[in-house]
């Protein structure tokens, strides 16, 4: 399959020969090697249970690799100070994991609070971030997560991940629980933000459309093995059977309509 292209400097994220085995000896990741260049978006695609989330969580040390090496901006994750490492990596998950007892303002600023950023700086930054994700600071800052809709909560989750301006963002099915229209809005918002700030993103999804729309590189996982790593264009044109399965399941409705018109 597609070989890794040249890039200046060391990659933002580099996994070499990473395996993860559960204590029950189940193999979750099977000798995966992958590099993500700085400023690019890598989308990890695969069925449920293919190891997508496991792969993502090895990058910030939430799951320890059983073998192999993971480097984040040249730092070895297995020996790194995980607290420090994680403060440089934004994290967004489907359930948002917003702190229910914090106001939106405090939720967004929690990382800044943890690193003792002065209060006035924090408030300034929180306002910028809320505005950047399309939430009016004046009306949202003082609310609590349960008073927000799913889409609004996901915006807050994104703002929180961006708060300390981390160079890397890990996103685990960030828009998976949203209705299709809200999901599309969030995808646009993310693309928009990314065009203005250089971030290295690793995003897990099972939505082919989302992968094609957001990715510089699509990585396909199957039963813990990396099947392919290609550009969206190459993915669409791929004849590999593992890719074809995904493409067949994609936009079936529209294709069926078209074929009915043609016959």
């Amino acid at each position: 399959m597609q070989k890794i292209e040249k890039s200046e400097g060391s990659p933002a994220i580099a996994l070499s020969d990473v395996s993860v085995t559960t204590p029950q000896r189940r193999l979750l990741l099977d000798h995966v090697s992958l590099t993500c260049d700085a400023g690019t978006t890598t989308v990890i695609l695969g069925r449920s249970g293919s190891g997508k989330t496991t792969l993502l969580r090895t990058i910030n040390g939430m799951i320890a690799a059983s073998s192999g090496q993971i480097k984040v901006r040249s730092v070895d994750v297995q020996t790194a100070d995980l607290t420090q490492l994680r403060r440089g990596i934004g994290y967004v998950i489907q359930e948002t994991g917003l702190f229910p007892h914090f106001t939106i303002e405090r939720n967004v600023g929690v990382v800044l609070e943890a690193i003792d950023r002065p209060r006035n700086d924090r408030i300034q930054r929180i306002r910028e971030l809320l505005a950047a994700v399309g939430l009016d600071p004046a009306s949202f800052a003082g609310r609590y997560p349960h008073q927000l809709s799913g889409g609004q909560r996901q915006r807050v989750g994104l703002a929180r991940a961006l708060a300390a301006d981390p160079p890397i963002l890990l996103m685990d099915e960030p828009f998976g629980a949203l209705d299709p229209l809200t999901r599309a809005e969030m995808q646009d918002l993310l693309r928009n933000l990314l065009s203005r700030m250089r971030k290295t993103i690793v995003l897990v999804t099972h939505d082919v459309d989302e992968a094609l729309y957001l990715a510089d590189r699509i990585v396909l996982l199957q039963e813990g093995r990396l099947v392919t790593r290609v550009s969206p264009q190459e993915f669409l044109n791929s004849s590999a059977p593992e890719v074809a399965v995904f493409l067949r399941a994609y936009r079936r409705g529209a294709r069926q309509m078209r074929s009915e018109i043609n016959t």
């Binding site: 995980l82 403060r87 994991g97 917003l98 702190f99």
Partner: protein, 210 residues
């Protein structure tokens, strides 16, 4: 009736204060022991079952027997109040421990995962996330424990620890219902007040689900 109050009023007030002090000291001891223990159990869940079982057994010991067991012990046996406080604290352990443990275990795993993933230290996670989110549960445990202890503390008079039980025991011995009520009514009122106050705190810290 007014005659009775004029005669016993001062004593009732004094014994009420004593009752409060016995229960308060016991609750303080129990909380200082059981809350950290409950937190520790969430880190070592394999210990949760055995430790909770032990505190459970403590609860099943009849209170009179418990006071009796402690009586011959050195230092403790010297002062009846010490026995009462230790025994009451033993009864208070289970509800506080169990609720602290359950309160932290019941926190949405996504919230705990994010707390870890964004680089909060263990201490920050405990103080900023776990304890505030479990606070309502912990107060509920304190409430149950306090109400129970206010009741059991009346038995402490049997070993001479004082408190409102003293009036009850005297009333029973002299077949004087007025004396029994003079001990029982203030004890019941104390229990109700503690229940209301801690219930208020419990609701104050309740976190709406997202």
């Amino acid at each position: 009736m007014s005659n009775f109050l004029a005669h016993y009023g001062g004593e009732i007030a004094e014994l009420t204060v004593e009752h409060l002090w016995l229960t308060g000291a016991a609750m303080l001891f129990a909380a200082v022991l059981a809350i950290p223990a409950g937190i520790w159990l969430t880190r070592k869940p394999q210990w949760a079952r055995p430790v909770i079982a032990v505190t459970n057994v403590l609860q099943t010991i009849p209170s009179l027997a418990m006071f009796g067991f402690l009586l011959p012990l050195p230092w403790l046996g010297e002062r009846a109040a010490r026995i009462a406080i230790v025994a009451l604290a033993a009864y208070a352990l289970l509800p506080i421990l169990r609720n602290t443990y359950a309160g932290i275990c019941g926190i949405d795993p996504a919230v705990l995962e994010v707390a870890r993933a964004i680089g909060l230290t263990g201490r920050q996670r405990l103080l900023m996330v776990e304890l505030p989110l479990a606070a309502s549960f912990i107060f509920a445990g304190l409430r149950t424990a306090t109400v129970t202890c206010i009741g059991i503390a009346t038995i402490a008079a049997a070993v001479g620890a004082g408190g409102l039980g003293e009036l009850i025991f005297r009333g029973v011995a002299s077949v004087d219902n007025r004396l029994v009520l003079a001990g029982a009514i203030p004890a019941a009122l104390l229990a109700l007040a503690a229940d209301g106050l801690l219930g208020l705190l419990e609701r104050r810290f309740k976190v709406p689900a997202a």
